[in-house]
Amino acid sequence: MSSQKKRDQLILHTALTAGRIMIENGSEIERVEDTMTRIAHNAGAQTSQLFVMITGILMAINGEVGAQIEPVKRRTFDLEKIAVVNDLSRQYAAHKIDLRQFADQLDHLDSASRYFPFWLQLVAAAMVSGPLEVVFRHNLPDFWITCLVGMLGWWVYYVLNKFIQIRFLSEFTAAAAIGVMAVVFVHLGLGNSVDDIIIGSVMPLVPGVPITNSVRDILAGNLVSGPARGVEALVSAAAIGFGIAMVLQFL
């Protein structure tokens, strides 16, 4: 293989990996297209053709015959990775790293996940639930119990997500668990209002990333990926709603 061809392969590999990491972790499509075009341009490719969708990426450079495909299989929310890819792309544009280092760092980033520690996530879930319950419902006495229920709900969601890896099912189960816990705790006299506790506790499960990205994608003209994300958000919301509704039916 000539060195020019090798270089083209490396450019394609880098751009495709960067794009896949960004979509997998919840970036909007326009940013992915922008980043990939910039990588190809900064690496010296004269032209680049791109087709980015939420389930896969197609890219060709320099008008060659062989375009390459990168499927996107997983879908999680890890916005830090998007920020890191963005940073790397900037560093590459400023010639602080070369293409080989860029590709290595992307591969490394792909395998490593730097989430906040689990206990901090639990605390964060509590700190989403309790304060929002107070903000929405002005019910100060139920603050602590909402924190507790929200935290346990996130724990259920997290553990199930590890084992069954279907987000909608984990959301459904977590919502049902939150409903049961709220009813039981109010029954035991630990809280006053089932409604307020549930409203606060499901807030950590709200699909904020798909909602925002769906709107932004549709506005940018990605009429396939935008509505697809909208459906994702809608199914999540419906799963949470059914979980709660099921518990309320059996009251």
Binding site: G26, A125, P131, V135, G208, T212, I244
Partner: protein, 151 residues
């Protein structure tokens, strides 16, 4: 609304926005700014409702403020814009109305449920349209700063 209530609401919004940021793994140096943008959007919404603007207009203004402020933060910190606006819209999410809708559907009070469904749709639409308007502002601004670096 007394001053104490207002302070509690602002503190609650700030804490909740940052905590939601932790759940979706936002980089640490973006968390604080994201929290303040969330507070900005919520305060704008709250005062619009208090002064009789209605909750639809309130959510619209809140979403516009969040969109525009997120872009400024993205420029300043050289980070993607979604790091700031995703946690910031969480306090605007119509959680209470959505819950009342689900509850009333589950209990068979369909007419009450439809009222809440309408509210949820209107609020979500207002937030989406608010983002659209903020995008308009952002694109105009980008046109002026074309030679600058990407966000």
């Amino acid at each position: 609304m007394s001053v104490l209530e207002f302070i509690i609401e602002v503190a609650g919004t700030y804490v909740a926005t940052i905590a939601f940021g932790v759940l979706i793994n936002i980089p640490r140096r973006a968390l604080n700014v994201g929290g303040w943008i969330g507070v900005l959007g919520y305060v704008l919404y709250r005062f619009t409702v208090l002064w009789g603007g209605g909750y639809v207009i309130g959510n619209l203004l809140g979403a516009v403020a969040i969109g525009v402020a997120s872009l400024q933060a993205a420029k300043l910190k050289k980070m993607p814009m979604i790091l700031f606006n995703i946690p910031a819209i969480v306090p605007l999410v119509p959680g209470g109305q959505a819950y009342q809708m689900i509850k009333n559907f589950a209990l068979g009070n369909n007419s009450t449920a439809l009222v809440f469904l309408l509210q949820v749709v209107m609020i979500s639409g207002a937030i989406a349209f608010g983002f659209l308007l903020s995008e308009l502002v952002n694109r105009i601004q980008r046109r002026f700063w074309r030679h600058r670096k990407r966000l």
